[in-house]
């Protein structure tokens, strides 16, 4: 078995096809294999904690920071970002278009006039949703018990979008997955701006002090690879050909401004 | 509807498995209430014929008529007809259930009322001597017990036609006799039509109104016991029904219905007399059943026309009987009671007289090419 760099990544990043695009480039450049696992944020971090992978690539800042603080990861390196958006039926039954995300959530909560499908899987997206509820002034438990309009599905982004589509409901999604699914959906973007919707992807190499058997050099190669100007350029252009707009903005290791 | 036709009839019935023709154009009708025995060597096709009559198998060609109506080759009607019959298979197969459930199943399937079923089953179990076995799993029964369950299971249905394939093969003589009585009672009291394949010649002889001999897929002879056992129509039948003396010869004279046949290895002058219209010059076989031969120490004057001096060559014991092989210039086999054998002090080399009646000799034409 040739040595391979093992990377656990969040599903929303994989589903856009970015990894399939970058993988051969990395393999060519470093003459090594790159093994990508797509998984939920939770299980990806679990892989990392157990030393089953050499690096993780996710989008949940608080948990990433905790991961590094606990000594599992070397350093959190942001390399790309985009925005979450709230999508919903084109009729916008709840009338939240034009509001900011927090206000939109408040309105949904107060009127209960539109269904909302929640991923409910502790993923980065779900964490972001909880953060927005928090910012809007609601305890998450209260939201969960608010009524039948709040649907917790416990699935990845794509299926969650499909369900929202079926139920004519709103949901919070990352831009990449939404674009990938757009052709199958009647949903339209309802709320797309606001600092709170920022979605940052970062790469973390596993701490070799914790797991000496991990392949830290290659992991570092991957970190440098991702923030190298050449690849940053490719990331910045990824999706333009297909969707007319880029799916990701490069940020070259810097935390983007909110 | 064909008037006054037999209850069950097969016409030009043939059946093949693959290339192998098992039944070769049978015609046979069995009247209501008749008891018919089918005898024949193993592999003759007896079971196959019974299976076809029970509508388990569709014959390759030919027709079956039941109660005057042609039996269709498929459809619901077959079930209705089959339910008027019951077939006791050669290898009785019990279901993995209690004896009661085994015996009750046919009645259940006919939708009989539960309390009636219980009564009937109890009654039949007693009849076949299986009272007290009701709750036993039938799979654990002994061979004979299983056979009686199979019998009970069929008899309890009181079918119009009972098809029996070796019904007493697994039973000891005492039980076999009981079952035979049971069957003949059913035949008499309920006018049940019975068709039984049997290897037990005495069973066939005792129970059957008529016997059919199946040889190699052909029904070569049918008739009552007397016909079959005393006047077989071919050497094969003769051989099969236990006519041990089949003596080739030529009719040299016929005097008012009494034929004289010259027999013996070199035909020098041994003459057997037989009551027969056979003309002089005819090549024949003379058939004599061994039990028709009597043995006496002296030449014994009786109405029997044939008496020969004989030398005993071998004696074997068959239960109450002794089988005596003799040389009278031709080979003759006699069957006498063991007590006579003892009285005559029979043993190889002994000389005595063998006698049989002219009426006990059955003549069969012999194809000249033989």
């Amino acid at each position: 078995r040739p040595p391979a760099l093992k990377v656990a990544t969040t599903s929303s990043l994989y589903d856009t096809g970015l990894w399939e695009y970058l993988e051969p480039k990395f393999e060519d450049k470093y003459g090594t294999k790159l093994h990508i696992f797509y998984a939920g944020t939770g299980i990806a971090l679990e892989y990392g904690k157990r030393g089953d992978v050499d690096a993780v690539v996710i989008h949940d800042k608080p948990r990433e920071e905790q991961f590094v603080a606990e000594g599992y990861g070397v350093e959190r390196v942001p390399f790309a970002y985009n925005y979450f958006l709230i999508v919903g039926p084109s009729g916008d039954r709840a009338g939240i278009k034009g509001l900011c995300a927090e206000d939109a959530f408040s309105k949904l909560m107060e009127t209960g006039s539109g269904d909302f499908v929640c991923r409910g899987d502790d993923s980065g997206t779900h964490a972001k949703e909880k953060a927005i509820w928090q910012a809007a002034g609601f305890g998450y438990e209260a939201v969960q018990q608010a009524g039948a309009w709040y649907i917790e599905t416990g699935r990845t982004m794509g299926p969650t979008l499909l369900m929202a589509n079926e139920k004519n409901a709103y949901t919070l999604t990352d831009n990449g997955t939404f674009l990938a699914y757009r052709s199958d959906l009647d949903l339209v973007p309802i709320v797309e701006t606001g600092a709170v919707l920022l979605n940052v992807y970062s790469v973390i190499a596993i701490n070799p002090e914790r797991h000496p058997e991990t392949n830290v050099e290659m992991a570092n190669d991957l970190v440098y690879f991702l923030i190298s100007p050449e690849i940053q350029g490719l990331i910045g252009n990824y999706g333009v050909a297909e969707y007319g707009v880029p799916l990701f903005m490069p940020c070259a290791g810097q935390e983007p401004e909110e | 509807m064909r008037p006054s036709s037999p209850l069950i009839e097969v016409a030009r019935l043939s059946h093949s498995y693959g290339d192998k023709e098992i039944l070769k154009g049978l015609d046979l009708g069995i009247a209501r209430g008749e008891v018919f025995a089918l005898i024949g060597p193993t592999g003759a096709g007896k079971t196959t014929l019974l299976r076809i009559m029970d509508l388990l198998e569709i014959p390759s060609s030919g027709e079956i008529y039941f109660d005057g109506q042609r039996v269709p080759r498929s459809g619901k009607q077959r079930l209705a007809i089959r339910r008027r019959m019951s077939f006791i298979h050669q290898k009785p197969q019990v279901f993995n259930a209690s004896v009661y459930d085994n015996v009750a199943c046919g009645l259940n399937w006919r939708g009989e009322a539960r309390n009636k079923i219980v009564a009937k089953v109890d009654c039949i179990l007693e009849t076949v001597g299986l009272e007290g076995y009701k709750n036993r799993n039938a799979r654990t029964l002994s061979g004979g017990e299983a056979q009686r369950v199979a019998l009970a299971r069929s008899l309890v249905l009181q079918p119009e036609v009972l098809l029996l394939d070796e019904p007493t093969a697994n039973l000891d003589p005492v039980s076999a006799t009981k079952i035979e009585e049971l069957l003949s009672t059913a035949a008499r009291q309920r006018n049940t039509t019975m068709i039984m394949a049997t290897h037990d010649m005495s069973q066939g002889q005792q129970l059957a109104d008529r016997i059919g001999v199946l040889l190699d897929g052909r029904l070569v002879q049918t008739g009552n016991a007397g016909d079959i056992f005393r006047s077989p129509q071919s050497t094969e039948v003769a051989h099969f029904v236990g006519v041990e003396n089949i003596i080739g010869g030529i009719v040299i004279a016929n005097d008012e219905g009494v034929a004289t046949i010259s027999v013996g290895d070199d035909h020098h002058g041994i003459g057997i007399q037989a009551v027969s219209g056979c003309p002089a010059g005819q090549q024949v076989y003379a058939c004599i059943r061994p039990e028709d031969v009597t043995l006496t120490p002296m030449l014994y004057q009786s109405s029997a026309r044939n008496s020969f001096q004989a030398r005993v060559t071998r004696v074997t014991y068959l239960g109450p009987l002794s089988r005596v092989e003799m040389d009278c210039g031709f080979r003759l086999i006699g069957l006498v009671t063991r007590i006579s054998a003892e009285e005559l002090n029979l043993q190889a080399g002994h000389e005595l007289y063998a006698t049989f009646k002219a009426t006990a000799v059955h003549l069969m034409e012999r194809k000249s090419r033989q």
């Binding site: 939920g40 917790e152 416990g154 | 298979h89 279901f95 249905l157």
Partner: protein, 217 residues
């Protein structure tokens, strides 16, 4: 740990739902499969071998594919969209039936193939109709039939793809054991996932003992 799992009201609710859905689909599938399997076994017809091959091929349909198919059928724009049952337990039952019917069918046929020809002929001679014959044969093969039912139930209770795809794993409505386990796994809560798995097996054990009792009668 396990104690906590089994007394949590949400877990209890999920357990009950799981049993209800899998039990229903297994029941419905056997109502289809036992008669149909008998029919296939006892009838002689052209193309029977091909049919059996097709049934056995359906043993290999992945649950995701069934989930996808049912999803496409039941989705709002699909041919059966008007039923409006996507993401409901009913849809899950349909999907699971599609999953286990071929299995029950195939195993029924193979169970019946173990019943001796002589037994079948004896019953026929005693006047069993086609239906009665099938019933008797299923009784004679009860061990294998019950094993098939247990397998079918096990398949229904343990499948994930359909429950996920057409049930949607909606908390409090279509979340069953397997989707809950899968969710716990994605969340990285491996111990919870394993505990739920053990609970599922415990349930299966109870059901199997009950079904086996049935067979030993």
């Amino acid at each position: 740990m396990e104690l906590i799992v089994s007394f949590d009201p949400e877990v209890m609710e999920i357990t009950a739902r799981t049993l209800r859905i899998a039990g229903t689909s297994c029941l419905l599938a056997s109502l289809i499969s036992l008669p149909l399997g008998s029919l296939v076994h006892f009838r002689r017809f052209r193309g029977k071998r091909v049919l059996v091959n097709i049934i056995q091929t359906l043993f290999s349909v992945p649950t995701v594919v069934i989930g996808l198919l049912v999803f496409v059928l039941l989705s709002r724009t699909g041919p059966l969209g008007d039923l409006d049952i996507l993401f409901t337990p009913a849809a899950m039952v349909i999907g699971q039936m599609i999953l286990i019917t071929p299995i029950l069918l195939g195993l029924t046929i193979s169970a019946l193939s173990g019943v001796g020809k002589e037994v079948v002929e004896t019953a026929t001679s005693l006047g069993a109709s086609g239906f009665q014959l099938a019933l008797l044969s299923l009784k004679e093969a009860r061990y294998a039939v019950v094993a098939a039912l247990i397998l079918g139930f096990g398949r229904a209770i343990s499948e994930l793809g359909i429950a996920m795809m057409v049930g949607g794993n909606i908390r409090g409505f279509t979340r069953v054991m397997t989707t809950a386990i899968s969710l716990a796994t994605t969340k990285g809560e491996l111990e919870l996932a394993l505990a739920l798995g053990m609970l599922l097996l415990l349930l299966a054990l109870v059901i199997n003992i009950a079904l086996n009792r049935l067979q030993q009668r």
